[in-house]
Symmetry: C2
Subunit: 324 residues, 2 copies
Amino acid sequence: MKILIIGAAGMLGAKLAARLCQDGHIGGGEITHLCLADIAAPAASPDAPFAVAAIATDFSLAGQAERLIDNRPDVIFHLAAIVSGEAETDLEKGYRINLDGTRSLFDAIRTAGDDYRPRVVFASSLAVFGAPFPDTIPDDFHLTPLTSYGTQKAMCELLLADYTRRGFLDGIGLRLPTIVVRPGRPNKAASGFFSGIIREPLNGEEAVLPVSDDVLHWMASPRAAVGYFAHAAGLPPEACAAARNITLPGLAVTVAEQIETLRKIGGTGRVNLIRREKDPLVEKIVSGWPRRFDPKTALGLGFQPDATFEAIVRAYIEDEQIQV
Amino acid sequence: MKILIIGAAGMLGAKLAARLCQDGHIGGGEITHLCLADIAAPAASPDAPFAVAAIATDFSLAGQAERLIDNRPDVIFHLAAIVSGEAETDLEKGYRINLDGTRSLFDAIRTAGDDYRPRVVFASSLAVFGAPFPDTIPDDFHLTPLTSYGTQKAMCELLLADYTRRGFLDGIGLRLPTIVVRPGRPNKAASGFFSGIIREPLNGEEAVLPVSDDVLHWMASPRAAVGYFAHAAGLPPEACAAARNITLPGLAVTVAEQIETLRKIGGTGRVNLIRREKDPLVEKIVSGWPRRFDPKTALGLGFQPDATFEAIVRAYIEDEQIQV
C-alpha cells in the first residue's frame, strides 16, 4: 500500500507520518511506501519499516500534482493549506493554494487513467460553518463560511463530493476540531490561547488569556486528529456513501475546565502563570466560532474522540515528553 | 445606469433584456446603456429608449471578462451557464464555463480598480440542494448537490458570498424554481414535461406525461423569474446582508393541478392531448428533486411569486400571444 501525505511538514502531517511509520499499516493494508510532500522537503522518518521519500513541491504549480501521484499512491492525505489568517490577508495566494492546488490534485487523479481511484483524505475545517449557530450544531448545518479560508475549504468539499460521485476518486473530507494542545511556540492564531494556557504554564512560562473563563470551544488533541486521518484512510468506500464531508468528534470544553485540569495535573503554581488580559478583538473573533457539535455521522463511522480534557493534556505531556 | 446581461441569448436573458427595455429603469435608477453578451451575439432590442450593444464572447477565455466590464456596468446579470445535462456529460466544459467563467468575471471585477463594486445578480439553481429532502425545505437547508452542475453553482454561490464580504462586489445569488411554461419547442430536459403538458396542448399538439399525476414540483413563470432578476438588481445592499444566496418563491403544484388548470383554460379537448406514458428514468430523476420550499428570506425581501398556477398559464398565453 503506497501512501502520500501532502502538507507533511506541518504539525499534523509530521505526526501522521510518524504514526504511519509506527503502525506499518492502514486498515487491513500493509504500508510499502510513504511519500512526504510539502513546500519545503519534510524530514523523512529514518526508522520506518518501509521506504520513505520526501519531496519539496508547490502542488498548485502546473505538472506538480501529476508528479506527486506518479507512483499511484493508494491513499492520499491532503493537509496542505494556506492558513486562515494568511488566506484573509493574501486573497490570491489563498485561492491559488487552497482551491486551485486542491483542484489540480483532484484533476491529476481524474486524468491519470488506468482506473486509478485512490482514497483521498482531505483536511477540511469547521471554518466552512459561519455564525449564527445553534447551541449544538448538527451534521447537516448549512455552509456559510465567514472567511476566505472557510470558503475555499467549502468549495473543495463540494468538489471532493462531486468527483467522488463521478467515480474519479474516493474522497473523505474531515472537519477537524481546534487542535489543543498544539506543541511548539505560541503562534498568532486567534485560537492560540486555547493551547497556550496549558502549554506555556506546563513549560514554566507565562500565558495570556484574552477571553473570559466561560468561553466554550470544540477541541481535539493532535493524537486524536492523527487517529481521525488514519481511521478515515481505512474506512471501506461504502461506509462513506452517506456523507463525504464529515464533522469530526471533539470535546466541548470551557476555559474554566481547561484551567481546573491544569491545576489538577500541574498544580496551582502553574495556574498562576495564566495572566488574564482581555483582548476585545480576540473576544469578538471567538464569539463567532462554533462551540459544540453533534457529530452523529462520524461517531457512527467509528471516529474516536479524546475521552476527557485531562486525557488531552496527558497526551500532550506524553507525546511531547514534557517534564511535569 | 449601465447594465450588462451575460447569457442574454437564453430564454430568460432575452426576456430580461426586453423587460429592462420596457421599464427603462432598475429600482430608482434610469437605465442609460444595456450590453447583451452571449456565446453568440444576442439580438439587440431595436425599440429601447437607450443604447443597446450586443457582444459575442466566451467569458471564460482570458481577457473576455475584462472586456465585458470595460465600461464599468453598475448592474451585471450573470445568467451564462452550461446546463445540467451537458455539465454532466462534459465535465471539463461544465467546470470551465460554470465555475471558471464565473470566477473570471468576479476576478475581473475585483481587479478593476477605481473602487468599482457593481451589483452582480447571479443565476444559481435549486440544484445546489440534494436529496433526501424534508417535505418543506427551509432557507438554511444544507448544500449537497447531486450533479456537477449543482456543485458548480454551489461553489459559485460561496465565491459570490466571499467576494461580497470582502467588498469586491455586491452580489446576490438567486435559486430559481423550475420555469413553467417555457416557450418554444420541447427540449430534452427531464423537467421538460412540466411545461410540455401545458404548452403542447395549448398549441394543439400531443404532449407526453412520463410521471404520475400526484408529482409535486416547485415552479415559477418566466415572467416571475424576470421580475426576480429585476427586483434583485434594485435591492439596497444592506437588505441583502443576511443572505447573499437566496431561494426564490415559487408555487408547489401537482401535475393533477396543472392538468385541471389546462382543462379550465383550454377545455377537455386539450387535456385529451396529454398522453400518459410512464418513463421510469424520468420518474427516478424527478423523485430526487425538491418539491416545496419555505422561502422566508426572499418573501421578506419582497420577491413576488406568481399568484396561482392559473396565473402562470395565463402569463404564458399573454406573453407568447397564444390563441386559445
